[in-house]
């Protein structure tokens, strides 16, 4: 049980991880029939192939809907890792890592040989490295050239997070927040938190005197991912992928390493939380909880479910004050520059961004919040009527206050406040985590570790 929790938390946390929904569709899209179409439309006979690591039920729906609205086009989701991941099995984490590595290397090889699918789901792919090699289409150009596409209908700040070398080579189609915490205000008491500007130092100072006996300041973050958490967002402060420079030997990063060590050494962040969860005693035992808010109802109801309605959403402390929110997209699409059906691939991206698909949230649909403004607002409107059957974790019904316009604006401000996407290239995070371990366990000095990280990341960037 402990392992299951550790694994699932870990999976959500790492920068470039598997999509967390393993339970999803098991049907293999690659086996789908490649019907050669009727030949009534000019697009007849096109087969659009989309590379995915693992299939999801939602992809079948996407395929059906797109084929229905585009006669003559066959959509083929090509699954690269066909084995099911048994989350409970020993070594599931390792297995997931191996699968990801295999997926990345296969796609890389296919792209280089010119035989890659037309579209790629790049949630966990180092798409910037592909863009460096001119293997991905610049979607911002396709957007600008298409008069039927109006980018002002979208939270363009989200698309802006993808800007790279003057283009946009991958498009996020949904949002899951990665730096929002749920705080227990009954434990936090009178603490003054300016969550737009607070640093990890502030966090340590606020949390230390308030940690409940036997509890922790931050639940839901395994120790080994603490640094990744602290760098999401913030990694961009130390890495410039465009100029191929890193600054991990800077005082700023050494400071961060020292802070991470302090947090662990003083027990402010401890591993014991997952044990508490296992024993069912986690309630009221952590000041903050890392929550990967994925659906609108979570943003609205989760604070109500915590500590008898005393929960509140906070932006995680950060090395970049006022750096906005960071997110990841569980369906980030990129178009193969060498695809024969580039235009149709763009049509598909447009289709995923359309009202029909954006509004298809929840079970069996988009795993994340829509990036389309009207769709988001519409979904928000639906929650105006408070549900009367909401139950807390203890099974007791919870009274839901009506959603005021102010609260609605506040919730939308999370979307408009997005500034960074979580890095999809996990290599840098991996290097940081591996190297920093010896400092966190007091085997090496901060200078040695910072120097080593700097040298390795620069090597990686400059190769």
């Amino acid at each position: 049980m402990k392992k299951i929790i550790a694994c699932s938390i870990a999976l959500v946390m790492t920068a470039a991880m598997l999509s967390s929904c393993f339970g999803g569709g098991g049907k293999n899209g690659s086996g789908a029939t490649a019907g050669e179409g009727g030949g009534t439309s000019p697009e007849s006979g096109i087969t659009l192939t989309i590379a995915v690591e693992r299939n999801e039920g939602f992809f079948d729906t996407l395929k059906q809907k797109f084929e229905a609205s585009h006669p003559g086009v066959t959509v083929n989701f090509k699954e690269y890792i066909a084995t099911k991941l048994d989350k409970g099995a020993a070594g599931a984490m390792k297995q997931a890592q191996r699968d990801t590595e295999k997926f990345v290397s296969t796609i890389t090889t296919e792209l280089a040989s010119g035989h890659a699918p037309d579209l790629l789901v790049v949630n966990i792919l180092p798409y910037k490295k592909y863009a460096d090699k001119h293997l991905l289409a610049d979607i911002s150009k396709l957007m600008a050239d298409d008069s039927s596409f109006d980018s002002s209908q979208y939270y363009t700040n989200i698309f802006d997070t993808m800007k790279y070398k003057g283009g946009v080579y991958a498009i996020p189609t949904s949002v899951q927040f990665t730096n929002l915490w749920l705080g227990d205000t009954s434990l936090l008491g009178d603490a003054h938190i300016d969550d737009n500007a607070w640093t990890w130092q502030d966090f340590a100072e606020i949390a230390k005197p308030r940690i409940p006996q036997g509890g922790t300041a931050l639940g839901g973050t395994p120790k080994e991912f603490l640094l990744s958490t602290m760098l999401t967002p913030g990694l961009e402060q130390f890495v410039d992928p465009e100029k191929k420079k890193a600054a991990f030997d800077s005082p700023g990063f050494k400071n961060l390493l020292t802070q991470a060590k302090t947090l662990l050494d003083e027990g402010i962040v401890s591993e014991s939380f997952e044990e508490l969860v296992t024993r069912g005693k986690d309630k009221g035992m952590s000041l903050f909880e890392y929550v990967g808010f994925r659906y609108l109802d979570e943003l609205i109801f989760d604070p109500l479910m915590m500590a008898g309605g005393k929960g509140a959403i906070f932006r995680a402390p950060s090395v970049t004050p006022n750096g906005g929110y960071s997110y990841r997209s569980n369906l980030t699409l990129a178009i193969n520059e060498k695809s024969k059906h580039k235009q149709m691939a763009w049509e598909f991206v447009k289709f995923v961004l359309s009202e029909e698909i954006q509004g298809f949230e929840g079970k069996g649909g988009m795993r994340g919040m829509p990036v389309r403004k009207a769709t988001f607002r519409h979904a928000l409107e639906l929650f105006k009527e408070p549900p009367d059957d909401l139950k807390g974790p203890d099974g007791k019904p919870i009274a839901v206050p009506p959603l005021t316009p102010e609260r609605m604006d506040e919730i939308e401000s999370y979307m408009t406040g997005i500034r960074t996407m979580q890095e999809t290239d996990d290599k840098i995070f991996n290097l940081i985590e591996t190297e920093s371990a010896s400092f966190l366990s007091s085997r090496k000095s901060v200078d040695e570790v910072a120097k080593s990280i700097q040298s390795k990341v620069e090597t990686y960037l400059n190769e």
Binding site: K133, K338, T459
Partner: protein
Amino acid sequence: MLKRLNNQEGVAAALFLAPSVAGFALFFFVPFLIGCYYSLLDSPVDGSFVGLRNYGDLLRNEVFHRAAWNTFRFTAVSVPLNMLLSLGLAMLLNRNAYFRSWLRISFLFPLVIPVASVVLIWRIVFDANGTLNGLLHAWGWIPRDWMESGYSPAVVVVVYLWKNVGYNMVLFLAGLQNIPAEYYEAAAIDGAGKFRQWRSITLVYLMPTTFFVFIISILNSFKVFRETYLIAGEYPHEDIYMMQHYMNNMFRSLDYQKLTSAAFLMALAITVLVWTLFRAERRLARSIGG
């Protein structure tokens, strides 16, 4: 008549050689030429001809410099060491030492043990919390992280020596046993001392073996990557980041231009080196009248 026979022999020889030539061409030579061609394009897919630009980029790349320098330095240090050690061992075992045959076999063990299992042992020995540091600590010395410090090249040299000394030793032994004992007897009668015998007979008649061992050692020194990679991963300490790390990582990150041009440059360097050595050997052989 004679000519016809020659022709027939030629055909027979060609027939016998064909499978190996075909295999070599299919798996080495043709891919190498194709790689060479790709190194002149700007992209592996629909690339256009860019001449030597990839080579220019490569030669300006700092990481490539480091990889090339580390590889050169490693070869320059480890190959002479390897040869001295294996020659020394061979001469010790060429005498009537106790347990001689067992010792000889034991030196060959590193060759037959699978690399992966050996690497595990090396990791345990050289880990920051490993055996070596445990011993050092017990003796009151300061432990260090061997693979993550300036000492890492030394570790790689040790691993290389452990792996290769036995093989070279066997080659030297064979060479030593091929020198007729009469030469030594004759020299002894003429009043030559042990050192003089060693210098004028052993070394001279060992020259062809030495040359062969030298080339094999150089080639094997390029193979140490496997052990380094398995011990320290794809991004080891900057002092042991070798050419093969560079190429391996280039392959994984899709940079076929840099990969093929680096491979071609390395092949060129090795060819030039071996060619020079062969010429030197020929001249040497002529000068000593062998």
